[in-house]
Symmetry: D2
Subunit: 346 residues, 4 copies
């Protein structure tokens, strides 16, 4: 039984992690930190947790917070992260962070896409990119894991077999993506009001979204050479769910069946990656409320192009659930502990 502290527990990612860990047989949630709701029962802030926990939200005392748990999951605004994370690591604690700071190997790329100085560049060497399907071994011994972005998780797992097997040309890759509204977090901004975003569909951050650079980093690692991509996110009027539709030109003709067999081979040991049978494609409801990612393949032989469609729950495999997957690996638990749950469908 390890003690876990959740710093930033009342955002949407934080509360989903809390919900999951309250059910996790190997974890005691020993502290939940929320600046906005310090002093309140978490079940008064989120009444779906009533009857399940009597935890109170705490204000964070940076100097002593390390005493409260063995492992910390941080979903904090950036200013606070740089105060507390170095200290936690210094005290020998393990950390799984949700910010962008530790996802990059290059400070320059981070600073260019995030438009600001990196405050903890000395920690980049220690951090591991928390995508278990690619970095399981490193995660198992890491003290600092950077939980990937939702779009990057959905994109990287969609493309990894293509990249690794060098069957596509890397200079015309388009990723057209779409996310449910919880991806924006628990904000009160006007564009995320029900009356503004219900019954509405829009593109945003076209050609400038930060996740572009995160995807390009990992695509480059997989391909063994730099890769630049077009990435366009859209906002879908639904709570949970994310889809990436990826287009790439095939180096040589291949059928859907041939490419599918490459995917099945590549992911044959992966519990949370489901390859759809030929002729079927993912829908977000299949993985909603779960840690699964579903991947479908269509080879367009007319055009010599492959189209990959991937779907996951932006709060699931795209955030909270994937963090718990890494936690399991870091703690020596079976990787599926507390996560062996099908999607909701309804």
């Amino acid at each position: 039984m390890i003690r876990v502290g959740i710093l930033g527990a009342t955002g949407y990612v934080g509360i989903e992690i809390t919900r999951l860990l309250l059910l996790h047989p190997g974890v005691e949630v020993s502290c939940v930190v929320s600046h906005s709701f310090a002093g309140k029962k978490i079940s008064d802030v989120y009444p779906h947790l009533a009857g399940i926990t009597d935890l109170y939200c705490e204000e964070m005392d940076v100097a002593s917070i390390h005493e409260k748990a063995d492992l910390f999951i941080t979903a904090l605004s950036e200013g606070i992260s740089s105060e507390v994370i170095p200290l936690l690591l210094e005290k020998g604690k393990k950390v799984i962070d949700h910010g962008g700071d530790f996802r990059y190997k290059s400070v320059e790329i981070y600073e260019k896409w995030y438009g600001k100085k990196h405050t903890m560049p000395h920690l980049l060497g220690r951090s591991v990119y928390g995508l278990p399907e690619l970095y399981r071994d490193s995660i198992s011994t890491a003290s600092l894991v950077a939980n990937p972005g939702c779009y990057p998780t959905c994109s990287i797992l969609a493309a990894a077999p293509l990249m690794k097997n060098r069957i596509i040309s890397t200079d015309n890759i388009i990723i057209d993506a779409a996310s449910g509204v919880t991806g924006a977090g628990r904000k009160t901004d006007l564009p995320f009001q029900y009356s503004e975003c219900s019954q509405n569909f829009k593109a945003y951050s076209v050609s400038t979204h930060r996740h572009t650079s995160e995807i390009e980093q990992e695509f480059g690692n997989l391909a063994g050479a730099p890769v630049l991509i077009s990435f366009t996110p859209h906002l879908v009027p639904m709570k949970r769910g994310m889809m990436c539709t990826l287009y790439a030109n095939l180096k040589k003709r291949a059928s859907t069946a041939e490419i599918l067999s490459i995917y099945e081979e590549y992911y044959k040991e992966e519990f949370f990656v489901r390859i759809m049978p030929e002729g079927r494609l993912p829908e977000t409801k299949y993985s909603s409320g779960s840690n699964f990612i579903d991947i479908g393949v269509v080879a367009d032989e007319r055009l010599g192009r492959v189209i990959i469609v991937s779907a996951l729950d932006n709060l699931g495999k795209g955030a909270a659930w994937q963090a718990v997957q890494s936690l399991n690996i870091m703690c020596g638990y079976d990787e599926t502990t507390g996560l062996k749950v099908p999607g909701l469908y309804l």
Copy 2:
């Protein structure tokens, strides 16, 4: 480990039961029957179950179906129920049924509200109304449990403390209710098409809904005298969730706090009934994806009236999850086994 057969597994209630029981530590799902999809993998029909189960849907052979499990959960159309349920009971099997047939003590009332002959009146004496908070002991020894309707569950638990404590007059009770669309089941009727029921709200079956009679039966049992009610259901453009708003005139003035203390006392041993603190009311998202029912109380002292607001998941405590709660009781398991899950909220 008991073997459970699910007859009618590919309707919305059936598939939710299947999803739950696949995760249940004391249950082996030994057979899933679906007339429409016999011969198909259930995960091809419902891809959210891929990676979790390799079960195939079976056609039902009435003569031998009893061999396939120890306990059967039936969510069948009516004609088939009367063929198979008597046989299962004869063979010593336990049955939890989702039809209206076994919920009534009076054949006359059933026949009046359902507009047809009852085909198994001889079994009514054996059947127990599967509302654990009211009939836990009888359920524990029952071989035939009638899982209650969703509106009745939501209404009866909302009103039981008032009825039992005789603090309301029973001649002006109004229940105004609302349900998400999954309550209509997996039908392809025009009114349940997305384009027809999204962004739309409507009342239906006003003064004629069958559940009226089921609620009246149980209200009568609780009050010790016949009770007639107005019951008006509405359709809400959401998938899951149900709310009842109940109005009743108080026999004598009482404050919200006084009535709340009656509720807290009445339900103090009930894990799945959550009484909201004064000044707060349920929202369907608190119990969505769970077996909880949330109940809020407002005494309107100006009018001498009490308003009770109750919410549950129509597929959760209103159907599939409550069936598993009864299953746990019937099998001697801890009543919360497999069900100790908070709502989804998001």
Copy 3:
């Protein structure tokens, strides 16, 4: 051609009025005031108006605003109303206001339900309650019209024939109501965020909603004696639309057909009131995007009770469109000018 100024044009009611009046053949929108967006083109704030108008939002200069139009429609926060409305009237301008201030005949009732002092009690004698179906003649000569609340419009028109014909007892009237989210206005409060209110249903302001008192005032006028009611609003996950389900005990038995004929007679001259045929009930999509209110009747002969179901668009007949209906009457235009539009359905 009259010149109309819209004060508070960028809220949801204001922008719907603007949209309507830009298409109105007898109106020139001569000024749109918006504190938040002063100096911006209104089509930059609301791009659906691009190509239709080049109007700019103005800041309000209280001293000179009266020069900008002949008639003003005000949808302002309360503090500002009391500064500007008296001045406009003094200058001989006509005003249609959307606040609660001028809807009441009794200062005491207003102050009790709104919890504050009335700032313009001297104007109550001049103001007319802007429900054309009840007060058409007074509106035609009024200089100050109080546009009714959405729930009151939906409730009063639903009950008027019952009240006026004295066929119900007035001591057990329940109105259970539901509204789409635009009813909350263009706010950025957390409960109205998409992720919070999509796929969710809840009751709010139970027994305390201000509109209760507005409904009671008009019910009292119709019945010729004081009437107290229970009124419970709910929030529906949809943008537009409102429904009231009203329960009342009949003084003597009556069939649905008999009550329907009373409604048809009562509203036989009213273009915007549609009585549903027997056996059919309103759905909000029928009137969404229009000035219609639909009313359905069910007599529950078993209980001696009548249930009235009424539906309208909370931004339509419940707010903006009704204001334009009053404007037409005040200006001597045909009452349906610019409003003879069916609902959207889709």
Copy 4:
């Protein structure tokens, strides 16, 4: 005043046309044909039309239908089209058709993508592709207009300035598109049930959608050379609205402002095409309920690529409203008659 007959009036496109034409000052709706609802008042089938029209749905008598109107709008299943359209033309009537049959110049391409024989190839020479922004003059004298598909309208208008000005290479064009559910029509198929498609996002018909060929035909005409594209539609959980996100490689570097000025020039006379200012992109709510198409441009100078985002209402400019635009042109009315309406936004 021309008399218009609507054949197939009770589908979603048909009823939207009916709604529009009932308000059109130059049109008398002289007959509405619906096989499914023949003999019923159309306002009983679609109650939003109550109070607006007393029209009855008729069964179609092929031999005499031509007598009922001067111009016919057909939204029929294919078998019936080929029976009635040739006859109408023979009798000198004008026809605007919604099927795919008359949109193609090449019988081969039609037959390849539709997978069946063309039944009226002799009429292809007479038919005009009903996209007024490209074919206004031909439409003005046409007797047979093929109303374009929704995705093609959204794609072709998005790309026309790029194609016509030869500033993109045509061999790597990707169109990633998304549509609201009314695009599927008034069907009762399971995938379009609320419980199946609410809170869900999916791709469909990947690399095989018929509209691909329609887009390629018109792209080829504009570019003066054959063009092949990838086209991927997605289903969005909303009623109305459509978006295309188009990716193309620029022949030489260009800024967003430079490309925008090309668009502004190209569409400067077009009332229904709105070019978004730099830094802003369309959202479907801007054009929902209108005949507008909104187009936004982003040049990604890092990649030498341009991304065009276009949005329209699939029932508006994508179907019913565009048909009325063509009707106006064919009848010599001002092109905006009955269509000068802003989007709904809410």
